[in-house]
Structure formats: C-alpha cells, structure tokens
C-alpha cells in the first residue's frame, strides 16, 4: 500500500535573467510505502527539494507546479488542477505557460486542507531560520499542538509540548521551553523543529536536508534521533539529502534524481552498493565521489563528476546524463544521444533509466 506516490510531476520556474522557463522537476516519479524511508539523492539543482515542496504544495515562485499526480493516502492532491494550466512548447523548449494562479491556488488549498502540517509535516535545513526569532520555542510548539491535536487548552498543550521536547531528547526541556531560537544551538533548534513536525503525528515526514548546515558531530546526533524516532513511530519519511552516508544509514529505499527526473530507484542496499553491475552511470559516479576510508588510506584521488548538471531549459533529445556519462559504449551511443531511455524495471523494485541496461 503506497502512502505517497508522485507520478510525472512537473514543476517549472521562469528565470528572469535567462528569459526562459527552467524545468526544475520534469517528469519525476517517486513512491513511498507506509512505514518506509525513501532517500532522495542527487547533486544540487537536480530537483530533489523542489519535488518535495511540490508534493507538499509549498512551491512559491511562478509558474510553479504544472502538472502530474501526487497521490497521498489514495487521494490526488493535484486533482483537477491541470485545467488551470496551459503549456505551450516549441522545439523542446517551453515557450509560454498560462496559469490561473488564483483558481489553482484556491483548489490546491482546498485539496491540501487538513493535510499540510497535519498529515504531511516538513523539516528544513537551517532550522534556526525556520523558527520565528521572536517567539519562544515552547510557544511555537504549543501553537502547533493546539492547531493539530486534541490538546486544545494551553496547559494541556504545554504538557504535551514538554513531552515532545523530551522525546526529541532536548536536555532539560522545562528550561528550553522558554528559550528563544537564538539562545539555542543549531542541533537543538533542529530537534525542536522535529518535535513541531511530529507533534501532529503526521503519516508522512518530509525531511529536506535536515543535517545540512549543522556541525559534523551534531549531524550524527540528528541522524541518530531520526533513526530512533523512525523505530519508535514507524513514520513514513521522505529524506532529501546530498549526503549519501546519511541516506545510506536511514533509508530503506533510494531514488537518485538527475536534471529533474528520477534516473534510478530501488532498495538502498542495491542502489548504493559500490561497483554494482546494474547501476545507473550517474549513481556510480556519485558513489565514486564519496571519500571512503580505504580511498583516503590508499591516497587515491577523489573522482569528481565531470561537467555540470545541465540547465533544464531545453528538453534533451536523448539521455539527460549523456553529456557527462563515462560508460557509454558504441553499441548504445546512437540511442543515448537521440532517445530518452525509459525508467525500466530490471528486478522487482529496482528501476533504472539507462540504455545500457534496457531490455
């Protein structure tokens, strides 16, 4: 039973400086079963965060989400929204997008009512910035609890808030309750954010780079906390990170995103295994770029991925990774350059978008 399934999601933005539409997310498909943790990896600019924000209906910027399906708990959160958008495309390039923002916004909000914050909760990178600087952590937690749970009175909500501060392992919760965000460390703020996100007991948690911007030691603690909470609450988590070690530690399944689409997805052990036979060249390159203990001992040079993430203004004719791929063989070169490979299922649960592994 899938809790969240995103199909063919498209989110575009208009870039003023380049006077063109950028396809941040272009046909991405992700699926999360109840209780599992899906890690989404990819370089900066691959569309991971935008895909998650789109799913939660939080994209700000225009034109924003264009279409696709976001099925959450068997209802489509983008149901009937395509009617508000008209996209004009010419020569693999988006020329114009007509979007009835008001109509879209109204319908999207009604579809999202009772979902955002209650059923889908989010935590962000740089937690200190995500808290109101002028309200105490306790007050903000109490507000979230009174908004989403049955504990409506102030004293009950405070009890509950202290309970949650304890659950996210904040030391001396009673003292921290009255702290302002600037009086707390980044790790502490992230714990408070996690408490705020989880207090409504949502069924899905979207963690957008939860450890980025924290000290290395604190990162490990936050990852530990997420692991523990996952074991305790069995919450479904969509974890976005470019830190593969974090993903490897807590994810059950992994999706690799590149240039706005998913190029590989499957069980974490399978996708993130170095030197696997059936692997997308991009995944292999990502894995090769992580410093491993043996590589450091052997003083081997780290391999950065050649080239850059392509801008996604023009839809590529062939594979999106073709320009940077170092595994392309003469047998498939023609197809790689001219035809986008399909996301083919190689083994149950393991999907790959590469001509090398196409049936």
């Amino acid at each position: 039973m899938m809790l969240l399934s995103i199909e063919n999601l498209r989110t575009y933005f208009y870039s003023r400086s380049r006077r063109a539409f950028v396809r941040s997310v272009d046909g991405a498909s992700l699926a999360l079963a109840r209780g599992e943790t899906l890690g989404v990896v990819g370089e900066s600019g691959s569309g991971k965060t935008v895909a998650a924000l789109s799913a939660a209906g939080l994209v700000s910027g225009s034109p924003g989400v264009i279409g696709g399906r976001v099925e959450f708990d068997s209802r489509n959160l983008l149901d009937g929204l395509e009617g508000y958008v008209k996209v004009e495309e010419r020569d693999a390039r988006v020329m114009a997008v007509e979007k009835d923002e008001r109509g879209w916004g109204k319908r999207a909000e009604s579809l999202m009512a009772g979902v955002r914050g209650k059923e889908i909760a989010m935590i962000f990178q740089n937690p200190r910035a995500a808290l109101n600087p002028y309200a105490t952590v306790g007050a903000q937690l109490v507000e979230a609890i009174r908004l989403h749970t049955k504990w409506k009175s102030k004293s009950e909500a405070k009890e509950r808030a202290l309970h949650w501060l304890e659950r996210v392992r904040i030391d001396s919760p009673r003292l921290r309750f009255d702290n302002f965000p600037f009086g707390m460390s980044g790790g502490m703020c992230q714990r408070a954010m996690i408490a705020m996100a989880l207090c409504a007991e949502p069924s899905l948690l979207i963690a957008d780079e939860p450890t980025t911007g924290l000290d290395a030691t604190i990162q490990a603690r936050i990852v530990e906390l997420l692991e523990e909470l996952k074991a305790e609450t069995a919450i479904t988590t969509l974890l976005i990170s470019h830190d593969i070690s974090v993903i490897r530690r807590i994810s059950d399944r992994v999706a690799v995103m590149y240039a706005g689409t998913v190029v590989e997805s499957g069980a974490a052990s399978q996708v993130l295994r170095p030197h696997a036979a059936e692997q997308h060249p991009y995944t292999a390159a990502l894995l090769a770029s992580i410093p491993s203990a043996e590589a450091i001992r052997g003083k081997r040079e780290l391999r950065a991925i050649e080239g850059e993430v392509p801008d996604t203004i023009d839809r590529p004719r062939g594979c999106r990774f073709y320009g940077r791929c170092n595994r392309v063989t003469d047998a498939v070169r023609g197809r790689c350059a001219n035809l986008e490979p399909p996301l083919a299922e190689l083994a149950p649960g393991h999907k790959l978008r590469c001509w090398l592994h196409a049936a």
Binding site: R116, F124, A130, N132, L147, D178, F180, G183
Partner: protein
C-alpha cells in the same frame, strides 16, 4: 549584587538588568511625559481646571509664574496659563492618535501586501514613498488646508497618510527578512493559516517593537505639526487654546519683557516632543538594538 550569566542566557535576565542605563533614563522620562500628557488630557476633558481658560482678568495681565492663584501666571488677557496649557493638549491629543492609527493600519496593510504579494504592490509602495519624499510635508498640509478648511482632523489625516510609507517599508522589510530565512515557508508547512502567520507571527511578534517605536515618533511629529500650524494661524483658532497659538499670542509681548506667556507653551512643546522622541529612541535601543536572531 551583580549577577553574571552566560552570554547565551543574557536574554534570560530581566530587561532592566541588561539595559543600558541611559536608555532607561530616556524611556523613564518619555513615559513620565506620556503619563503627564495623558493625565492632563483627562483633566482637561473632565473640566477640572484651576480656572476657566477663557476667563479674562484685566487686572492681572502677563503675570509672572507663582503669582498667588495662578501657578504658571497669566497671558496678555489675564487668562490662566496653567489651565490654557492643560486645555491645549486637546488640540493635538486625539488628532495625533488618529494620525498614528491611520499610518499604522494603512502602513501595515501596504507593507504586508508589498512583502507578501510583491510585484505591483511593492512598486506602489516605493513610488508612494518617493513621491512623499520629494514633497515637503508642510506644503502638502497647507495645500489641503487651502482646498478644504483649517480643520486639525483634515491635517492629521494627511499626516497619517504621509506616515504610511515608513511603516509599510518597515513591515515589508521584516517580511523580506523572514522570507530569506525560511521561517514563513516553514510556518506554511506547519499548516498555520495565512492570517495567523501574518497577524500573529509577522505583525505581532516580529513587528510590534518597531511599530510602537514608530508610533511614539509619529506622535512627536503630529504634535510638532499641530503646534506649527497653530502658530502660523492655520490650526486651532483663538480663543481655543493650543500650544502653538499660545506661543504666537505671547510673542507680541515678548520684546516688551513679558517673555513668559510665550515661553511657557514653548517649553511645554519642547519637553513633550523631546519626551516622545526619547521614548522612541530608548525603546528602539532596548527592544530592537541587540535582539537579533
């Protein structure tokens, strides 16, 4: 006894302990002036004046302060200066509050629209404030007086509207600041309704201190404009007292050695405006100065 605390916990100290003493003096003086003005306004409204402010006493004109029966002396018609000073507060008190209310409400709305919606609203606010900056306020007020009538409420509506861009910029700036941090996005992700985010989190929690400061500075400005206009004869008309027309009336006798009838209201203006300004400055330092995330 001095209490030492960790830097991180400085904000756990009571405000009075962590404040700069000079700021406390400013705020103390300002609050005293505000209290004095408010009490005097009530006394004037209730009519508990020592003398009838319009009762002339030809036998006792331009009396010095501490004359028996007239604590602050009398003016050129022998009217009691103390009563007239107290009644003079009526000239600016309510109109000043009206001006502040207009600029706070209008400015906040414009600021929220500019900060939240951006686009056209942002341009509107910036043109609005440029337009007002390029035009002397007093001239605008005199134009309004010429077009309508010399009524202090018309003037204060103009003062209120011209005060709006400052507030709007302040609120829009706060929203931009919070947006650049991901707080507003996070609040939406938490499912907080937009009105809660705007009214409670942005306006109340993040903007209340600067808005209170702007309000006190706005009051100082309103008093200054009212007294200037009354001095020039465009505001409150004799025999109704205003500090401005009292200075004007007294100035005819100034060079004859009777400097007190115009000096008393002038000192009142000075002390009051100084009070509101220092209150604003002191509050700014106390509330805004160091409390940065």
């Amino acid at each position: 006894m001095r209490r030492y605390v960790q830097a991180e916990n400085v904000y756990a100290l009571p405000l009075l302990q962590r404040a700069n003493p000079l700021d406390l003096v400013y705020v103390g003086y300002g609050l005293a002036i505000v209290a004095l003005v408010f009490v005097s306004y009530l006394i004037g409204t209730l009519g508990w004046l020592p003398h009838d402010p319009r009762a002339m006493n030809v036998a006792l004109i331009n009396a010095a302060p501490f004359t028996p029966g007239h604590l602050l002396g009398t003016d050129f018609l022998g009217r009691d200066l103390q009563s007239r000073l107290i009644l003079g507060i009526q000239a600016y008190f309510l109109p000043g509050l009206l001006a502040i209310a207009i600029s706070l409400v209008g400015g906040s709305v414009l600021g929220i629209l500019a900060g939240y919606r951006g686009g056209g609203w942002e341009i509107l606010v910036s043109y609005f404030s440029n337009l007002l900056d390029s035009f002397p306020r007093l001239v605008l007020i005199l134009l309004v007086i010429a077009a309508f009538k010399p009524d202090i409420y018309y003037v204060m509506v103009v003062v209120g509207i011209t005060g709006m861009p400052v507030i709007a910029n302040l609120v829009a700036g706060k929203i931009a600041f919070l947006r650049q941090k991901s707080f507003i996005e996070a609040a939406h992700a938490l499912g907080l309704p937009a009105h809660t985010v705007i009214l409670k989190h942005i306006l109340w929690l993040n903007c209340r201190a600067p808005l209170v400061i702007q309000a006190t500075l706005g009051m100082a400005e309103a008093i200054l404009i009212e007294t200037s206009l009354s001095y020039l004869g465009f505001g409150v008309q004799e025999p109704t007292p205003s500090w401005g027309n009292m200075v004007q009336a007294g100035s005819n006798y100034f060079l004859q050695g009777n400097f007190w009838p115009s000096t008393a209201p002038a000192l009142a203006i000075l002390a009051t405006i100084l009070g509101f300004q220092l209150l604003g400055d002191g509050l700014n330092n106390l509330l805004e100065g160091k409390r940065r995330a």
